[in-house]
Symmetry: C2
Subunit: 467 residues, 2 copies
């Protein structure tokens, strides 16, 4: 797809480049300074807040028990969620929604939210959660590896300054707004064990996610992937992804540990990223073109899998999540190399059709919408959706206008960046596992992820006629 | 490979067909009657035997504990066993052994046998066994599905009478000898909770396994897969596989339950096999040719995975192992259909390189050769190897001679059928999980599986010059 770079660089952004470079640089510095200042002001006020002594509901109860029943419940749960996910996915496709929405909904439908705890326990027995969780984690690790493999570093390079400004604005604004919202949510929903700083940081990151893979699928479905706007959206989303995961890594580091070990975690994460990008990347470039993708030798396959497991284990051991290591390994393997193509082709189906539904089932099992049973709670949920959308949409539009994009295109870009999709669910599960967010807030955030993702396609279709 | 059928049917076995048909039928009936009679005589004597009150070692202790430590130990264990497996596999290939031997050895090397419990626990912590076990089970389920997919039903049809006689002789003789050996082993090694009948039946089945996939790999490596002998060995091994799994299913049914539920289990298994072969097979034939393997639609992939999970869950729910359902589903999908080819191509690497090593690690973790620390125990181990080899080798040669094969070819066939490989390990793990065999006997049987598999290649190379 060299066409993308060509279009975007010369037609849309070329003429304004000298001016936009200066504007971009100034805007960028101002934005970061303001954001950091804003966060410290918020933190100052937030630290005096007191969270409820204990969460109303036991956190992630399913996770604590010892697994029983062996493999049978895992097989049944997976079969059910895949089958229902396909049905829901086709329904979604019929009304112009990405199928992944249907697959996520299938998990929630089979969870306690709608069927109730008793019936849901037949299909997704809470006892089997740890086993299902392991399969889900393998699914997410392989999926993030694929996301990393598909990430085209070229998209970031050519239009780095524009993509960086738009992307970082689309992160910073919802991040700051998410931290502001924490001032309201923390005394009402948080656990008193969780310090305000961790809570606000996590909420900030969770608000600022953009789902690169779902976005790519929406753009392809609309025939927009090769348009100027599509290319810009993709490069912004890719930058968003990379930035958000780095931020989350740091937040997890802070949330996991006291300050001194947090420094170790953040330091370890940064060092590992540097080692991977500067040390492993050149090695991966050399190896990735050496083998023929059609007849990949067994030792090459083993080498990639060992590297994947080792990289995932390293980030897990550092204190952040295994998926970061998987993503990083995907990033350092050139996306157009025979090795990358062979792995994408072979892992796609088993990961997205067989293993990832375990993650949807796992998420659905933990999402109990019945926890939201007061008007107050639904108000909070509405506030979360509003803040997430205003932040993402507003941040993107402001930055896009600043770089010279028209109103209509800026609005379409803002809508696209508001897609939260699967990535948001992964982030939320990390937060739930860490205990940073309670199950109620988890349910609200899952609803937010669904609403923002569902809203994208119809709005973009109105703003940009299909090609 | 229609060549195989052609060669074997007309050149080798065609001329003798009228005579061999009668001989085969008579021999077959005599064999089955004698075997059943022999088993009842053995059972008569065996039932008066008393097993030790409690096993010297806690059975499969690793399995009982609640899993801790999350995904990190699983990632580390997998990375270690894959990496070491590749190194060992290449060493094996250099000395003319199939690489799978090296991968199995890697699991045992990382287990407590050689490193000792303390060091081994760093790489394969016993606490993480349930998690590793789930990954291993997924690996085995997918692997057995692949074995089923690769099974060419045509191999069984054309030469059914010869293959059936040789194959069933190569099962019946070691089966009966295994039951006889039980008279010696039961009072020394078994747990008093286990009735003699279950023990003897299990030992019989465990002795009569032939590893179809390893055999196929050895034949391919030697350039023998398309020869008359190779085709006969493959069709015998395929029959062996199918028969042995049916036998094991029945044995598990008997071992799992009291007599009345055992009837239910055996009845359920047979009914399910009939439903799959008569009901699902025609449906699978129609569907399997409908889709293009290159661009398999997502719903086709989902349908196959849901069917796989459902079939595995059904046999697990019936009371036998999930792997039977996976194998059966593979068998009913035509092996040369686009769907089968697409799945074989996509699942091969992730199953055999990433997931199956979890099974080797899991097996290695449970194999503690240090349990064999007396001369008596090593004598028993030697007896097991001798009985397994004599039974398989003798049974095959006798039947092969009866159907008119020469001495040299009969001996080569006997050696080939003695390959136990990975299949034996799967069977042994089922026995260990059921508690039918104690860890000591498990270790002896693992050694037997390794020795018989290692012996195959060099002996066959002597008997049949490479093509």
């Amino acid at each position: 797809m060299p066409e993308i770079t060509h279009h975007a660089d010369t037609d849309a952004l070329g003429p304004q480049q000298p001016l936009s470079m200066v504007r971009t640089a100034l805007g960028y510095v101002a934005m970061i300074v303001l954001a950091v200042a804003a966060f410290f002001v918020i933190r100052h006020y937030g630290q005096s807040l007191v969270a409820p002594a204990a969460s109303a509901v036991a956190p992630a109860a399913a996770n604590a028990k010892s697994p029983v029943g062996g493999i049978l419940p895992v097989l049944v749960a997976l079969a059910a969620v895949i089958a229902l996910g396909q049905v829901m996915g086709r329904l979604c496709a019929k009304v112009g929604q990405p199928p992944v929405i249907g697959e996520v909904l299938a998990g929630i439908l089979l969870g306690p939210s709608l069927l109730g705890a008793t019936i849901s326990a037949w299909i997704l027995p809470p006892d089997s959660a740890p086993y299902l969780g392991i399969v889900a984690q393998f699914g997410v690790i392989l999926y993030m590896f694929l996301v990393g493999l598909e990430l085209n570093a070229e998209w970031l390079r050519g239009r780095a300054h524009v993509a960086a400004l738009v992307s970082h604005a689309s992160i910073v604004v919802p991040f700051v707004l998410g931290a502001v919202l924490s001032l309201y949510l923390y005394p009402r929903l948080a656990d008193s064990q969780v310090p305000f700083t961790s809570f606000a940081l996590f909420m900030g990151v969770a608000m600022s996610i953009t789902a690169f893979p779902v976005l790519a699928r929406i753009l392809t479905d609309q025939g927009m992937a090769r348009s100027k706007l599509g290319a810009l959206a993709l490069s912004c989303a890719a930058t968003d992804d990379a930035t958000a995961w780095c931020l989350l890594a740091m937040v997890v580091g802070v949330a996991r540990a006291d300050t001194s070990t947090a420094v170790l975690v953040v330091g370890g994460t940064l060092s590992y990223a540097v080692v991977m990008l500067l040390g492993v990347r050149p090695l991966a470039r050399r190896l990735a073109y050496r083998w023929d993708g059609e007849h990949l030798p067994r030792r090459a396959v083993a080498l990639v899998f060992v590297a994947l497991l080792a990289s995932a284990a390293t980030t897990q051991a550092i204190g952040i999540h295994a998926l970061f290591g998987a993503f990083l390994l995907g990033v350092v393997i050139p996306h157009d190399s025979p090795v990358a193509k062979a792995f994408m082709q072979q892992l796609q189906n088993i990961t997205t059709v067989l293993l990832l539904p375990a993650f949807f089932a796992f998420t659905g099992m933990r999402t109990d919408i019945r926890l939201l049973n007061t008007a107050d709670q639904w108000l909070m949920c509405g506030a979360i959706i509003a803040v997430a959308t205003v932040g993402k949409f507003g941040g993107t539009i402001a930055a896009a206008r600043l770089t010279g994009l028209g109103w209509r295109e800026s609005a379409a870009l803002g809508t696209l960046m508001n897609t939260r999709g699967l990535m948001e669910l992964i982030v939320l599960n990390v937060g739930l596992e860490l205990g940073v967010i309670p199950p109620e807030l988890f349910a609200m955030m899952v609803i937010m992820a669904l609403v923002t993702t569902v809203a994208t396609s119809p709005i973009v279709r109105r703003l940009v006629p299909a090609h």
